[in-house]
Symmetry: C2
Subunit: 142 residues, 2 copies
């Protein structure tokens, strides 16, 4: 469904949020360890998210990553920044001009799924996901 980069990006954002809610800045190394991802690859993804204003990066000693608007930040923004919004907006068969007027054969059936995914991504905030980590009901690795 999502690329590996996007999976890492979501996990990283959730972990950063969990810590930002406690006013706790986290480093790349710590993030990668906590979400079980390759450090340098995760660095690229976080750079990308920083360029897209999803996370705030602070350089230098005691630097790291923060998320300032976890309640307003939605999963859709992360997915869009990393994978593009084709996953929840594009045609299921990859047609470029698939729409109501010129639909592909699975258009109607796929539209429901796609809308469902879109709503889910647009309505899920990073904050609510981080809180599930806080109360120990969910995990980020294994």
């Amino acid at each position: 469904m999502f690329s590996k980069a996007c999976e890492y990006g979501i996990k990283a954002a959730i972990y950063i949020t969990q810590n930002s809610l406690l006013n706790n800045r986290v480093s790349l190394k710590e993030i990668a360890a906590e979400i079980d991802s390759p450090v340098a690859f995760t660095a690229k993804i976080l750079q990308d998210l920083a360029r897209n204003q999803v996370v705030t990066s602070i350089k230098g000693a005691r630097g790291g990553f923060e998320i300032h608007n976890p309640g307003e930040l939605k999963l859709s923004q992360i997915v869009k920044a990393i994978d593009s919004d084709d996953v929840y907006k594009g045609c299921g068969l990859g047609l470029v001009k698939c729409d109501e007027l010129n639909p592909c054969p699975i258009h109607d059936k796929f539209k429901v799924v796609r809308e469902n995914l879109k709503e889910m991504l647009e309505n899920t905030s990073l904050k609510e996901l981080a809180l599930k980590l806080d109360d120990g009901t969910t995990v980020l690795k294994i």
Copy 2:
């Protein structure tokens, strides 16, 4: 959502079905032309689908491809054969052991989407999709 190979596979299966319903066997070249896909790559995908008993391949002159059970054949079987069923069964964050007991943070929300996709793929027959091509309400390319 699906790989390119899977998109080609679905389109090919729909086109083959449309013709099999008319007792019309179709060749690789014709399929590739009709769904606008690279010929040799499409050949590999059709081999794969043939190995998985999704399509029947007939070798030799006047050979080609057929689908014998379009009413019973579901999209899920094609997706599973080409992309594996992880798309509609796996964890949204790629965790190997994500389940009700040890869920990832997006587990509950993603489960709904995944189930939705799964139902759609398992309930959609190739026959019904081919019929939409027949009546001209849908297209396979552009």
